[in-house]
């Protein structure tokens, strides 16, 4: 609760601040400060379960340790994102504080869609999350790529909204309670009615769209590629994670009991996502676009959690999200500072900027899922979840093979950085200050730390 209110509040403050703030970098500091407050408030709520505000929610949101842990993970990731990319957000355009405001509104949406307890709040949350993103994507107004991305994102996004609403309608119509409350519409054992099934498929489609699972992923590469890289970083990590928590909670709480009846659908979607994501990433030349595809591939891995829906899955999803966010944010932060986004642009980075190269390597290893990095434990949990679920073991095998493929494209960057020398003039890298380096090191350290002691996060869930 705290988080939702406060984010909305700071969003508004920043929105109006746009008028008053003189210096260009004030919004950033306000945003960072605000986010810290939000984070603290959220953690406090997680600790003593008491929100600051007393509002008649009519049980439309529900705050469990799981949700709140997840939220704090997301907020800390965002904080890291602000710290790493604050200056780059300022570079996007003139309306800096509006961008920050929008990001806060997005976070508000994330807060809602992570804690929703009725389909209404789910719908609102996702919309509040998406609409500001359309704007952020379009924020580089003169850039046609940005326009195109925004248009595609918007059209397909609202299309998926339509699909989702259709689903909700059928769920509502199909359940005997005639309610939108998760608890009321939660299905019991036994074959589910056709209307519910129809609704399920629509909802599944919509959620898959939000987490960019194949075959509903087509917007992802183009949008991520076209959007200003700072915001790509935001969308590819934090939003995706939020989408997954919404997805997970919906399917766990509503359709959990009839899992066998829809598991095959998720198996198909997951398999498709893994294959398409990994395979397509292999051939990309632009790192940015490659990362877009890799985000699809990673989504494929996270889908395994929703496929399995057991304790391992939930715990693992949190870990995976954390690991994935850390690594990707770090990687994007480095990417933003490159002039040349192609893989050749990374040639010889190991010589020019050893520290960047090393940290980037750690991020990439984590994404590949090499032990001692958080990424490994994420994948590990996912595999445990799937194997534990028992059905469709081939999915696990497919997953590990895809992980092997992913090594193929992640390591291309490593090779470029260390083992290849830049033949032409080194594409100069701008604005690498000690603070930035320190932050990168901290991020890398966090990844390693989580890789060795996942309990730092996982134990929270056992409270």
């Amino acid at each position: 609760m705290n988080a939702i209110i406060l984010t909305a509040l700071f969003g508004i403050i920043l929105m109006f601040g746009g008028v008053f703030f003189k210096s260009k970098s004030t919004p950033k500091y306000v945003a960072i400060g605000g986010l810290i407050i939000v984070l603290i408030a959220n953690c406090l709520e997680l600790r003593n379960g008491e929100p600051f505000f007393d509002i008649n929610l009519n049980d439309m949101l529900r705050f469990t340790s799981f949700n709140l842990t997840f939220l704090s993970v997301i907020f800390s990731a965002t904080l890291l994102y602000f710290l790493l990319n604050g200056r780059d957000i300022e570079k996007v355009g003139t309306n800096v504080s509006e961008y920050f405001a929008l990001i806060f509104f997005v976070l508000c949406g994330v807060g809602i869609s992570a804690t929703y307890n009725t389909l209404l709040t789910l719908f609102l949350g996702i919309e509040i999350m998406s609409i500001p993103l359309y704007i952020l994507t379009a924020s580089d107004k003169r850039n046609l790529k940005s326009n195109e991305a925004a248009l595609k994102y918007f059209l397909m996004g609202s299309f998926s909204t339509g699909i989702m609403l259709m689903g909700i309608a059928f769920i509502y119509g199909g359940n005997t309670q005639g309610s939108f409350y998760i608890d009321n519409i939660a299905l019991g054992e036994g074959k589910m009615p056709v209307m519910i099934a129809v609704g399920l498929v629509f909802l599944l489609t919509a959620m898959s769209f939000k987490v960019s699972a194949a075959p509903f992923h087509f917007w992802t590469p183009d949008v991520y590629d076209g959007a200003p890289t700072v915001f790509t970083s935001f969308m590819a990590t934090i939003i995706k994670a939020a989408g997954f928590i919404a997805f997970l909670r919906l399917f766990e709480n509503v359709f959990g009991k009839v899992q066998p009846q829809w598991q095959i659908l998720l198996a198909v979607i997951t398999a498709a996502t893994l294959l398409i994501g990994n395979l397509t990433a292999v051939f990309q030349q632009s790192v940015k676009r490659m990362l877009a595809y890799s985000s699809i591939a990673q989504a494929g891995f996270m889908l395994l959690a929703i496929f399995a829906l057991n304790e391992y899955a939930k715990e693992g999803l949190v870990l995976y999200a954390a690991a994935y966010c850390l690594a990707s944010i770090g990687l994007f932060a480095i990417l933003i500072r490159m002039n040349d986004y192609t893989i050749e642009g990374f040639n010889g980075l190991g010589k020019r900027q050893p520290l960047l190269a090393v940290t980037a390597t750690i991020f990439l290893l984590s994404l590949t899922g090499v032990p001692l990095t958080a990424g490994f434990l994420g994948k590990f949990y996912m595999l445990v979840a799937v194997m534990n679920d028992g059905h469709q073991k081939w999915l696990a095998i497919l997953a590990v093979l895809c992980a092997a493929i992913s090594a193929y494209y992640y390591f291309r960057i490593i090779q470029a950085m260390f083992f290849k020398d830049s033949n032409e003039a080194p594409s100069e890298i701008w604005d690498i200050n000690p603070r930035f380096k320190a932050l990168l090191v901290i991020t890398a350290a966090l990844i390693i730390l989580l890789g060795i002691f996942p309990s730092l996060i996982a134990d929270w869930l056992h409270y």
Binding site: I4, A8, G11, I12, M15, I55, N56, L57, N58, M60, L61, G93, T94, N95, E98, A101, L102, F105, C108, G109, I112, L120, T121, L124, E127, I128, I131, P132, Y134, I135, A138, S139, K141, R142, G173, G174, P193, V194, M195, A197, V198
Partner: protein
């Protein structure tokens, strides 16, 4: 065949027809007008179902504000039949129609089976749709969503401003 049913069939057919025309008509302005007709029909359905509040809102918000907005934009860009981008290759068109059609068929067929779809709907009486009822609920039980949707509007507003404001010279 009671009056309600007659109305129902009439409105349905009209709605579908005009909806189809929205897709088919070359000229964007016509499309908009057909869409408005469709909305009117839907409003009619609301009235049939005695959902007065929604009927009003639909009329004002949708058929009114939103469609006007559309019309305004189209006029602004003065789009017309010949400025319309040439149609895609025919067979893609077919594929589209077939895909949509089969979706329709599948759903209809599937739902035909379930007994749930033969429950009756309460026509033209029952007081749930009245403004009083809805209003009370909206400001008691639904106060939170109501408030939070303001965030939505704020961001929409920011968006509109940020996107359509002419930038000073790009630095």
């Amino acid at each position: 065949m009671s009056l309600t049913e007659i109305f129902f069939w009439f409105l349905s057919v009209l709605a579908l027809g005009s909806a189809a025309m929205v897709v088919l008509s070359k000229n964007p302005v016509y499309s908009i007008l057909f869409l408005i007709i469709t909305f009117f029909c839907i409003t009619g359905h609301y009235i049939l179902l005695n959902a007065q509040f929604l009927a009003i809102v639909n009329l004002i918000v949708y058929a009114g504000a939103i469609m006007v907005l559309f019309l305004f934009v189209v006029m602004l860009m003065n789009l017309n039949a010949d400025s319309e981008p040439p149609q895609k290759s025919k067979y893609l068109w077919f594929i589209g129609v077939i895909a949509g059609g089969s979706l329709l068929i599948i759903l209809v067929a599937a739902l035909k089976e379930s007994e749930a779809s033969y429950q009756l709907t309460q026509m033209n009486h029952g007081n749930v749709g009245l403004i009083a009822t809805l209003g009370r609920t909206l400001f008691t039980n639904y106060v939170f969503p109501f408030e939070i949707s303001s965030v939505l509007f704020l961001s929409a507003m920011i968006g509109a401003v940020v996107l359509s404001k002419r930038e000073a010279v790009q630095n």
